[in-house]
């Protein structure tokens, strides 16, 4: 008795073998490296560049080897000493920031990285080491919050403006329109006007839930934005900002950035290898937006128009302030792309703008009857400023959020516009470039603020790794020795299974692309400690059964069988707790939940299948008189 069928043993060996292969890359510790990326084709990364960089590094006394251009098109320079990483980055960045490498829109970015040393044959099998969290790799972590109420308020304002326009078009008089929170209240003097507006709301603004009534001779309509729509607006704002942030992160040239939505209205940005938090923040934090509006007719009443200055000093002086309509046609989130170019026909610079589908429709409706009028592009910049304010009789410095709205372009509409259109009338190619950049950068659906920021230095990360590895090693050693002394032959089995567990856990994490963090390492240590539990349960049970008078073979069989339900129930409940921890946590703590959950799975598997298989190989089908347990 106590034999596994052959296929079961083979399957187990195969599985562990595979686990071993996929865990193996973690043994090859990566070289510290610096990585150079460029943001345009003009900034070439080639052997020539590598040579220049090499010279600079040599002059700076930085020991490097294996400089290469990777297939992905960036330069990777491996260093001997992790301590020189920052110095190397500084030296190379200074070089590449120099005049000879800097042109209009070409730019090199130098980041810290860790170059893989996984042998090719392993890499060709798709095996790669675990991802390291920021606390181990070093880098910058940001948490941004999207101001979704602002996006909702914007939408409310748009709808209010379109209702007002309809009231004017239909020449309804003495109609009052008020917005409060999510509700627009329209008060009319006649039932007819009420009816007209209700029809308009029904046909054109289906997102609003309508109510009507009359009171003291006036007739009112209340239109409320539905919760479903509010959620849509919020989701749209967050995903739009997510895309924009992704594009901006790409400009930073970081090798493996993480940009992820977190919760309802937050975005996590993790930039491994980046040390310049301030610089990264500057690029990510450009909280700008755009609005396209028609220029107000000279006869328009003051309530329908707003006065703006131009963005550039020159235009401000030459053209003075201009009046634009209050109603915006579209905002920058509808802009998919904006490219500066040169129009051969008019022999002047231009910008080609591409809108998304809905933006194109809105633009078409707004411009088809307005050919010959001017359309303005407003650039809206959100920023904070320190202000001294009186508070409780004390002068305190406070940060106040400010908004700056300027016209970046005002041009004549030549024909009805659609998804694709051009802006001309720009003074120079440089201006066209600048405006195009602003158009691209301005595609935020709502402003954002930084609510959390963490920076971890590269040396601290390396130190954390070595401490983590050390505690795993020492913990394992203690376990192995203890099990060996306490359970003798079965202790050897337990130790083999423990090693199997560690290999499978590592492999699983590498294959799943899970991120290892410092608490994650603690999770591994804890799992190893707890993993022997399943073995202990089985062995204790076998001992009991022996005492109860069963034969050795019978005791082994009964031990495994009886311990099974305990092991399953105990680990399933722990797994539930680990899942909950995963759900509520973020960042490095999530890493702990990941290793804990995966560790529970692998330890149950190895204890139930692995231990059984080995015990079967040792004792199965044999005449055993005594168990060394």
């Amino acid at each position: 008795m106590n034999r596994f069928p052959l296929w079961k043993n083979v399957l187990l060996i195969l599985l562990v073998g595979l686990g071993f292969i996929y865990a193996l890359p973690n043994v090859y510790s990566p070289d510290p490296a610096i990585q150079i990326t460029s943001n345009s084709r003009a900034a070439k990364i080639d052997d020539e560049l590598l040579q220049v960089v090499g010279t600079v590094l040599q002059e700076g006394g930085i020991d490097y080897f294996g400089a290469e251009v990777t297939p992905e098109g960036f330069a990777m320079i491996r260093l001997r000493d992790a301590g020189q990483q920052l110095a190397a980055q500084r030296a190379v960045q200074t070089l590449l920031d120099g005049a000879s490498y800097q042109a209009e829109d070409k730019r090199y970015v130098v980041a810290l990285n860790r170059a893989s040393t996984t042998p090719d044959w392993l890499a060709s099998l798709g095996a790669s080491p675990m991802n390291l969290g920021l606390d181990l790799a070093g880098g910058v972590h940001f948490l941004l919050e999207v101001d979704t109420p602002k996006a909702v308020a914007d939408r409310m304002e748009d709808m209010q403006e379109s209702i007002k326009k309809h009231i004017r078009d239909k020449r309804l008089f003495n109609v009052e329109v008020q917005v409060k929170d999510r509700t627009i209240t329209i008060t009319t003097p006649s039932e007819d006007a009420q009816k007209v507006l209700l029809t308009y709301l029904q046909e054109n603004l289906p997102d609003l839930a309508r109510q009507r009534g009359s009171e003291g001779g006036s007739f009112w309509v209340k239109a409320t934005l539905e919760n479903r729509v509010i959620q849509e607006i919020e989701n749209h704002a967050v995903s739009q900002n997510l895309t924009t942030i992704r594009n901006r992160v790409n400009e930073l040239g970081v090798s493996e950035p993480l940009v992820q939505r977190q919760g309802r209205n937050r975005i996590v940005v993790e930039l491994p290898g980046v040390q310049d938090a301030a610089g990264a923040k500057k690029i990510l934090g450009k909280t700008a937006n755009l609005e396209f509006r028609l220029e107000a007719a000279p006869s328009a009443p003051p309530t329908q128009k707003e006065r703006f200055e131009f963005y550039t000093e020159e235009e401000r002086q030459m053209r003075g302030p201009k009046f634009l309509e209050r109603r915006r046609i579209i905002t920058g989130e509808r802009v998919i792309n904006a490219m500066a170019g040169f129009d051969d026909q008019s022999n002047s610079p231009k910008i080609d703008i591409t809108l998304d589908g809905e933006g194109g429709t809105l633009m078409h409706h707004a411009t088809r009857n307005e050919v010959g009028r001017n359309m303005g592009v407003l650039f809206i910049d959100y920023y904070t400023e320190k202000q001294r304010v009186m508070e409780n009789g004390q002068l305190v410095e406070k940060e106040v959020q400010k908004v700056d709205r300027k016209i970046i372009n005002l041009a004549t509409i030549r024909s009805a516009l659609g998804v694709r259109f051009q802006i001309t009338g720009l003074d120079s190619v440089k201006e066209a470039n600048d405006v195009a950049l602003l158009l691209r950068a301005g595609s935020l659906a709502a402003p954002m603020v930084f609510v959390e920021e963490r920076t971890i230095g590269p040396s601290l990360g390396a130190e954390n790794i070595s401490m983590g590895v050390k505690s795993v090693q020492i913990g394992m050693l203690m376990l192995v020795v203890f099990m060996l002394f306490y359970y003798k032959v079965f202790g050897i089995v337990a130790n083999i299974v423990l090693a199997m567990n560690l290999v499978l856990l590592t492999a699983l994490m590498s294959i799943l692309g899970a991120t290892l963090t410092m608490p994650g390492i603690a999770g591994i240590v804890l799992t190893m400690g707890m993993a022997v539990d399943a073995n202990v349960l089985i062995y204790s049970r076998i001992k009991e059964e022996l005492k109860a008078g069963l034969s050795p073979q019978g005791a082994i069989h009964a031990g495994f069988e009886r311990a099974f339900s305990s092991i399953m129930d105990a680990n399933l409940t722990t797994l539930i707790v680990a899942f909950i921890l995963y759900a509520i946590s973020s960042g490095s703590v999530k890493g702990f939940a990941v290793t804990l959950s995966l560790g529970i799975v692998t330890s149950v598997f190895t204890a139930i299948v692995g231990t059984r298989a080995i015990v079967n190989v040792i004792y199965g089908n044999r005449n055993v008189t005594k168990l060394w347990i």
Binding site: V451, E452, G475, L526, D533, S565, I576, I584, S588, V589
Partner: protein, 314 residues
């Protein structure tokens, strides 16, 4: 079965449970009086880890910071004399306070100017908005409650509602004692510690389930004995396993405490306390609770066939 000695665990249960209640009371008193030393994760604020080339005098650095306009800064050594931890509370609870200030760089710059001949590098910085902290605390508490509820349901389905109540009582006891220890010792309570509290709960649960499993099994095997006798017998049987598992887990945790570095210190302490308390509570909180709820054989009707899931028969 056999005539092995059975330890009379339940005989002294009144005393032990009484003592436990005193501990719980002490913990709650400590919550009220001493409160918690909450970490940055929960309070919001700024934390900087600085590396000095030469050992730094805390008093001097505090003075320098206060001159630079950060009077409330907490400065402590972190691991060694050359590593400093600077902590600032966010006093303006303005949510967008972190948007444009680069407070970390500003502080390092200020310190560099005042001690120009000592190299100072910023090894780590954390800036957390105040409302994030609040949310994390809420999330943590919510997580604990969800964990309790889910486990309650699971145990009720797999075992019996009385075990559910017993196990959850043990869980709550663990959490209170663990939090009480952190409050009393004024150890810093941050997100990793919260994770450790949950993990310790998972561990304790593991223990409780093993005990419960054995009690259930013995209820089916032993017909004549009283509930207390059955529970004593079950606890005695699993005692060896409990000691070894707790021992091995404690062993690795001690390794983690000594070699895992400062970041994991409080985390390890929380788990060490959690494992000890969890082992205790599975014996003296869960089991007595079940006794007091008068667990009977009828509670296990109709019996589930043991080991029905196993297909490996020779």
């Amino acid at each position: 079965m056999n005539n092995e000695k059975v330890i009379d665990f339940m005989g002294v249960r009144h005393w032990v449970v009484g003592a436990s209640l005193v501990l719980v009371l002490a913990a709650i008193l400590s919550f009220a009086i001493r409160g918690f030393n909450l970490g940055l994760d929960f309070t919001g604020g700024t934390l900087l880890e600085l590396h000095y080339e030469r050992p730094a005098d805390l008093e001097v650095v505090r003075q320098q910071l206060s001159q630079a306009g950060y009077p409330g800064a907490v400065v402590v050594h972190f691991g060694s004399e050359t590593e400093l931890l600077v902590r600032l509370q966010s006093d303006t609870s303005d949510e967008d306070e972190t948007i444009s200030t680069n407070i970390g760089e500003a502080i390092v710059e200020a310190l560099r100017q005042q001690t120009p001949n000592v190299g100072i590098t910023l090894t780590r910085s954390e800036i957390i908005g105040a409302q994030i902290g609040d949310e994390m605390a809420t999330n943590g508490i919510l997580g604990l409650l969800v964990a309790f509820a889910t486990v309650f349901v699971y145990v009720a389905i797999r075992f019996q509602t009385k075990f559910s109540i017993g196990a959850i009582t043990a869980q709550v006891f663990d959490a209170v004692i663990l939090l009480g220890a952190f409050s009393l010792l004024q150890l810093e309570f941050d997100l990793t510690v919260l994770a450790a509290v949950l993990a310790a709960n998972g561990y304790s649960l593991n223990d409780s389930i093993v005990v419960a499993d054995r009690i259930r099994e013995n209820f089916r095997l032993m017909r004549a004995e009283s509930t207390e006798e059955i529970i004593n017998k079950s606890l005695t049987q699993v005692m060896g396993r409990t000691i070894i598992t707790s021992g091995t887990t404690l062993m690795v945790l001690v390794a983690l405490y000594f070699f895992g570095g400062q970041l994991l210190e409080n985390f390890s302490i929380a788990l060490i306390i959690g494992v000890v308390v969890g082992t205790f509570s599975s014996i003296y909180i869960m089991a007595p609770a079940v006794v007091w709820m008068k667990l009977t054989k009828q509670d296990f009707m109709p019996p589930v066939k043991e080991g029905a899931e196993l297909d490996e028969l020779p």
